[in-house]
Amino acid sequence: MSRRGGRILGAGALGLATSACSSSFGMPRGGSEQGQEIFRLWQIFTFAGIAVAAIVYGLIGWSLIRYRRRKTDAPDALGRQFHANVPLEVVYTAIPVVIVVALFAVSFRGEERVGDLAADPAVTLHAEAFAWGWRFTYGGSGATVVSDPSGEDVDGPTIELPRGGTTRVILTSNDVIHAFWVPGFLFKRDAIPGRTTSFDITPTDTASFRGVCAEFCGLNHAYMTFTINVVEPDVFDAWVASQPSLGPEAP
């Protein structure tokens, strides 16, 4: 390869790497602090995955082209009959070990940040899944929003959350296993009957987020949707105050 060709190739690879580092690879960037943390992990894992795949595809492609049998070869021509190369084998075992240890380290730290529960959340939201809908109750005011019985033409319930404040979601189910998934927050958690589970969401964007049930739960699973509108805190306060309080006063 000429020096100029090499320089162009190098620049191209650098450009590709730079754009890859900032690329979302098709993933939403995350409308919450926790979601953005997951998004960064996604970028790191995807970038590592693409790099490894490129090397392996390159080696496979090179072998197939360079070492193909040619018309000039005898019909019973053999390749070079070597069996093993222990130092090389140790190296290609050790390198993946290093890669996965590094990936584990970033994943572990990321999960700690995503799973961290704030000492004093601004809002507490009790979410109860049932076949096939949701019952959301706000702590303090007891404001409650419940799904209409679901079906193909029924819209799910809409709730609001304040931007910039941390919402503690306390999740359970009252019949089968469901899952609370907001793709725009890059987050889901299973709702398991007989258990409660808690996680925090700190929205950063005022926008409307679609939520779905992610764990198959029977007939109308596909229609078990909800909507979260993230609004400024004062708008949120007014909205909560205007909601009927159906449930018992929650702490």
Partner: protein, 546 residues
């Protein structure tokens, strides 16, 4: 040329006259006939599962509900998953094992021929029950997903007879797997020909040893879980029902303690297949035989410690532990890729159809492996678990990986099993259609998964970026289906217009290529001397030092 031959001990046993016709097949205890019946039956289940998948893809081609009712759709994906996993890929591996292991180790048959026949008929019976559980059962078919999570699969949520038949069917298939596992291990440990040491064992046979061990470890807890579920459903138990103090999370542990080793039970035989094929078509020995065997053992061991990565989003398991174990299992899998590349390096690679499928396997499985590493990170699962991203991931391993390996096996060993070649030209067409169709079907599913499309939904709203990828995916399923039809034509064509294969059309390495095609009833008239892991190669290339 070395002409030393050793009589296999069984050749001296008195032979029954060979019988032909359907009765001979139905009553056979010959490992080759049982192996072929296993493969043909499993492939028939593949056609059933594929037809169900086509109905699923037709429903999902555009938003709205057009083709089937919601309940029917839920049964479709339940039976599709069950059939493909338990009735196609795993039994096809068992069929290859039945056919090949005695040949590869120089034995006249499996250790327990009658037990072998019993395994096959349990598998057929279990498969029939699973099919009955779909649409032929009173009060609703099985529609709880192939995972049958409780409490959804409890009688109060799924009252029909379908789930009961499904449980009994899976239990029968599980017993068949256990019996086959015992048979394989006994055969390999006790019936190897003189000179066939464990370190000369063909890689396919090695991989089946680990597969058999995994089956013995993983299936009993799952059968126990299914039995408890049946007690819950019909005898008033509450093992997994929170209303009676049971715990649905325990069910998930027991299920995935089977479920994750199961994916290696599905893929290890295929790793064995492509590891037989790549060196033969590169005209080289396998690079790093010992490393490959150790990697297979490592995969087997690690795969029993990763099950709860299916439960990262429950918030009820130790995510970091299972994340670390899952990341580690990528290492021995990566080693295998380097074994395959090393086996092609400086070879004389002949791109015949089996090699094409082996390369297609590597290309697809690599994407399945890389996305598997992503899924090993629990926070990434918080977004993509139970989404179409996950569906795409496991189809890249199971369909793009296992099924491409199965097609490689069919094109490689069909000449040995029948004495006739499949068509090289039709084979290339089959490969092209399957490879393009597969990637068209499943790549868009990564995209919709990231955009938030959950799995197992009959319908999706428009305007979410799901429409075009789903349409492309459905078109891809059509291309795949066409590829399978061309394949069936190829098999029919080979029956009607036979092209004789001869004993060794590929220049094969393991012992099955040192006997006739098809082999005689007791497999070998005489065995060549076994001096390396390539006895058939040594026979034809006495000049090459093993």
């Amino acid at each position: 040329m070395s002409t030393t031959v050793e009589q296999p001990p069984a050749a001296e046993a008195p032979m029954e006259p060979e019988r032909h016709g359907p009765v001979a097949w139905l009553t056979t205890t010959d490992h080759k006939k049982i192996g072929i019946m296993y493969c043909v039956t499993a492939f028939a289940f593949f056609l059933v599962g594929g037809a169900l998948a086509d109905m699923i893809r037709t429903e999902l081609a555009e938003p709205g509900r057009q083709v089937v009712s919601t309940q029917t759709y839920n049964t479709l994906f339940t039976i599709h998953g069950t059939v493909m996993i338990f009735l196609f890929v795993a039994p096809f591996g068992a069929g290859l094992a039945n056919y090949l292991i005695p040949l590869q180790i120089g034995a006249p048959d499996m250790a327990f021929p009658r037990l072998n026949a019993l395994s096959y008929w349990f598998f057929v019976g279990g498969g029939a029950l699973v099919l009955l559980s779909s649409f032929a059962s009173a009060g609703g078919g099985a529609a709880m997903g192939w995972t049958a999570y409780t409490p959804l699969s409890e009688a109060r949520m799924s009252p029909g007879v379908g789930p009961d038949l499904w449980i009994l069917g899976i239990a029968l298939v599980a017993i068949a797997t256990l019996l086959t596992g015992v048979n394989i291990l006994t055969t390999v440990f006790l019936l190897r020909a003189p000179g066939m040491t464990m370190w000369r064992l063909p890689i396919f046979t090695w991989n089946m040893v680990v597969t058999a061990l995994l089956g013995l470890v993983a299936f009993p807890p799952a059968v126990a879980a299914f039995a408890l579920l049946l007690v819950d459903r019909r005898l008033g138990g509450h093992a997994f029902d929170p209303l009676g103090g049971g715990d649905p999370v325990i069910y998930q542990h027991l299920f995935w303690f089977l479920g994750h080793p199961e994916v290696y039970i599905l893929i290890l035989p295929v790793f064995g297949v492509v590891t037989e094929i790549i060196p033969v078509f590169s005209r080289k020995p396998l690079f790093g035989y010992a490393g490959f065997v150790l990697a297979t053992l490592a995969i087997g061991a690690l795969s029993t410690g990763v099950w709860a990565h299916h439960m990262f989003t429950t918030g009820a398991v130790d995510n970091p532990f299972f994340s670390a174990m899952t990341l580690l299992i990528a290492v021995p899998t990566g080693v295998k890729f380097f074994n395959w590349i090393g086996s092609m390096w400086q070879g004389k690679i002949r791109m015949a159809v089996p090699m094409l499928f082996a390369v297609g396997f590597m290309a697809n499985f690599l994407i399945g492996g890389v996305t598997g590493v992503m899924l090993a990170s629990p926070p990434i699962d918080f977004q993509v678990a139970d989404s179409y991203f996950l569906v795409a991931h496991f189809h890249y391993t199971m369909m793009g990986g296992a099924v491409f390996g199965i097609f490689a096996a069919i094109y490689f060993w069909h000449p040995k099993m029948t004495g006739r070649m499949l068509s090289e030209r039709l084979g290339r067409l089959v490969f092209a259609l399957l490879f393009v169709g597969f990637n068209l079907t499943f790549w868009p599913q990564f995209v919709v998964g990231m955009r938030g499309m959950p799995r197992r939904i009959v319908d999706y709203a428009t305007g979410l970026g799901f429409d075009t990828p789903n349409l492309v995916s459905t078109i891809g399923a059509g291309v795949l289906t066409l590829g399978v039809l061309v394949f069936l034509f190829d098999v029919w064509h080979a029956r009607r217009h036979p092209v004789l294969a001869g004993d060794d059309p590929w220049g094969g390495y393991s012992l099955e290529w040192a006997t006739t095609s098809p082999p005689p009833e007791r497999n070998f008239a005489a065995l060549p001397k076994i001096r390396s892991e390539r006895p058939a190669f040594d026979l034809h290339h006495p000049d090459v030092k093993p």
